[in-house]
């Protein structure tokens, strides 16, 4: 890693000095980090895989329409369950038991009879939707609370820090599990809105247990930054507090925020699928975790059914995690893997 670092430094130096005729352009730390990231092969491969998965998730309705496949068997256009599933509940069309057909490229689910490809792409959509929303909201909450705590010192800092510690002491997995049914039962009584209520509940639970790490980090950073000369100077010449927070402090916090986002995303993906796997997350919306738990009993006879969601979750979390590691290395050259 040290060798690589000097190589990187060397590259940067070459870029700066190789073209003497050109105007010397300043690079922001973010630009330098992205330049490093582009040179990282693992990051590039993971980035491509992720873009592909995101495109698939965004285009899920187009894909299902193109193939005429349905994840929801109650859809009026969907084939009758008895057409795709035989008497014992085993699929009667599609791989791996029957020849490949374009109408069911990855086969159908036993018993319920929905199309595996349709369920998979919609499950991916849910995973990414939940993970991205949870990341954005919890990042926002973490940054705002961290800024407030770090900048105010006094009692507000003590209150926020105490609440942060309190949440960190809460057993998050059990807390998440226990909160889900309560929030859902509180806010919905009719089944039509259940799916949406579950989705919102899931995102809020992930946010409730996901903001503390960043809030702590930002607070620490702000505590050290606010003693620096440029902040003191801004205070002396009477820059309004809001401007100091957002124009002076926030740009200096880009690196930790980006790193925390990139490391937080895979965690949220795993958490969403995990909760659904336990049967306590989403029931009305397709979810990769739910597909895994549905497919578990068929591991021996219908391995494809199990490996589809397992493979999708693994691919998604693996590429997000590896990309996150690369982002961290790119933004913080001191880290050693």
């Amino acid at each position: 890693m040290v060798g690589q670092q000097t190589a990187l430094a060397h590259d940067d130096a070459v870029e700066d000095t190789a073209t003497p005729g050109k105007e010397i352009a300043g690079k922001s730390p973010t630009q330098i980090a992205f330049a490093r990231l582009r040179k990282d092969k693992v990051a590039v491969v993971c980035g491509i895989v992720l873009v592909f998965l995101i495109v698939v998730a965004v285009c899920a309705p187009l894909i299902t329409r193109a193939f005429h496949i349905y994840w929801d068997i109650s859809d009026p256009n969907a084939p009758n369950v008895s057409e795709v599933v035989d008497f014992d509940g085993f699929p009667s069309v599609g791989p791996p038991f029957h020849p490949f057909t374009w109408s069911h490229p990855l086969g159908v689910a036993p018993k319920v009879g929905y199309d595996n490809l349709a369920y998979l792409v919609y499950g991916l959509r849910t995973s990414l939707l939940v993970a991205f929303s949870a990341t954005i909201i919890s990042t926002f909450v973490g940054v705002v609370l961290g800024l407030m705590a770090g900048f105010s010192r006094g009692w507000l800092d003590r209150v926020i820090s105490f609440v942060t510690d309190l949440f960190l002491a809460f057993p998050y997995l059990l807390g998440m599990l226990a909160l889900a049914p309560i929030i859902v039962s509180r806010f919905t009584r009719d089944l039509d809105k259940l799916a949406r209520a579950q989705l919102i509940t899931l995102i809020s639970i992930l946010v409730i247990f996901g903001w503390m790490g960043l809030a702590r980090l930002i607070r620490g950073q702000v505590l050290s930054l606010r003693e620096r000369e440029f902040i003191l100077a801004a205070e002396v010449i009477g820059v309004p507090t809001r401007q100091i927070l957002f124009k002076e402090l926030l740009p200096n916090l880009v690196a930790p925020i980006v790193v925390s986002i990139s490391l937080g995303l895979p965690g949220f993906v795993a958490a969403e699928a995990g909760l659904s796997f336990l049967g306590l997350g989403l029931t009305g919306t397709p979810s990769l975790g739910k597909m895994v738990s549905d497919a578990t009993p068929y591991y021996a006879d219908y391995g494809l059914y199990l490996w589809l969601p397992v493979g999708a979750i693994t691919l998604l979390t693996l590429s997000l995690n590896l990309l996150g590691d690369s982002v961290r290395d790119a933004f913080d050259p001191r880290t050693r893997r």
Binding site: A169, P171, G279, T314, R337
Partner: protein, 331 residues
């Protein structure tokens, strides 16, 4: 030192009290009507029955009063009345809606399984992780190091439950290598206890050891570069002596800190492990209680106990820090 301990104890107690309030509010004020699942459990739930149960459970009283009764039960026995009257001995965490047994008794009954899983898994990952990390640090830059780091990055990137599920399916069900995964009490059947838990231990141990390997590798690389390590090498201490006595002893301090918290989280419910391998511990008990109709006394007890364990672990880690690291001075 003494002042620090007192302050630390007081703040821990405050956190426990606040957590108990949060737990109480969550489970006895959060649901639209906590008596609903109880009412659903025995036959058809009529309006009168629901109203009667709500009254009997004291849900019409003020929140403060209800919390007082609920928290008071932890210190002295109380009677709980729904349908029939149940005596609940101290420490009382309520009567399970479903089994109609005392929650505390069931908690003590389920806890050994979770403790067994946690202790076994944690000892494997701590030893294995530190060992692999030390090896990787000693052979830094070689293929051993790169292989270990690459493998650990890969394993920690895949969600734990995916690995556990695949291991259970293939090792236990398909290839029948270790068939028996279940919990037998250590006191009655030590051999079965060991064989039944060996697979969960291995899965927890191997998956979590990767994080420890990476972490202890980083720590070891740092301490191996210290002057006193160079001094030890220069005065002719053996390779092993340098690594074990000089470098590892310093490197292990932050590892112990993380281990304490990890272990506490493991104790609070190895939810996925218990669910996948079918072991009757706290995690599975909590999950089953959550299925509708929700068994609120059980759920609140698991969350409360888990929170208390984490607070205690935090406390122990903070205090232990001063003992194992002489550089830390507490004031």
């Amino acid at each position: 030192m003494f002042g620090y301990i007192v302050r630390r104890l007081m703040s821990a107690a405050l956190v426990v009290v606040l957590t108990s309030m949060i737990v109480f509010l969550l489970f006895f004020k959060g649901p639209s009507n906590p008596a609903q699942p109880l009412c659903d459990l025995n036959g058809k739930c009529t309006q009168e029955k629901l109203a009667l149960l709500t009254e009997q459970l004291g849900l019409n009283d003020s929140v403060v009063h209800q919390y007082g009764i609920w928290a008071g039960g932890i210190f002295h026995s109380r009677e709980i009345d729904f349908g029939a009257t149940y005596t609940c001995d101290a420490p009382c965490l309520g009567i399970s809606y479903r089994s109609r047994g005392q929650v505390t008794d069931e908690l003590f009954e389920k806890f050994p399984a979770t403790i067994s899983i946690a202790v076994g898994g944690a000892s494997i990952y701590l030893v294995l992780g530190v060992l692999l990390g030390t090896i990787a640090a000693r052979r830094r830059g070689t293929w051993v190091d790169r292989g270990l780091v690459g493998f650990s990055v890969f394993v920690s990137a895949v969600p734990y439950y995916v690995i556990a599920l695949l291991v259970w399916i293939y090792v236990s069900l398909q290839w029948k290598l270790i068939q028996d995964t279940s919990y037998h009490p250590l006191t009655s059947d030590p051999v079965h206890w060991f064989t039944g838990l060996s697979l969960p231990w291995l899965v927890i141990g191997l998956t979590s050891s990767t994080a420890y390997a990476r972490y202890s590798r980083g720590q070891m690389i740092e301490t191996m570069g210290e002057d006193y390590v160079r001094t030890a090498v220069a005065k002719g201490v053996s390779q092993r002596g340098v690594v074990v006595r000089h470098a590892l002893r310093a490197a292990i301090v932050p590892i112990v800190t993380i281990f304490g918290l990890d272990f506490a989280f493991l104790l609070t419910g190895t939810v996925f492990t218990e669910q996948i391998f079918g072991i009757d511990g706290i995690g599975r008990w909590g999950i089953n209680a959550l299925r509708s109709p929700t068994d609120f006394p059980v759920v609140s007890a698991t969350v409360l106990v888990a929170a208390v364990i984490i607070v205690i672990a935090n406390l122990i880690v903070d205090l232990l820090y001063a003992v194992i690291d002489p550089r830390v001075r507490l004031a």
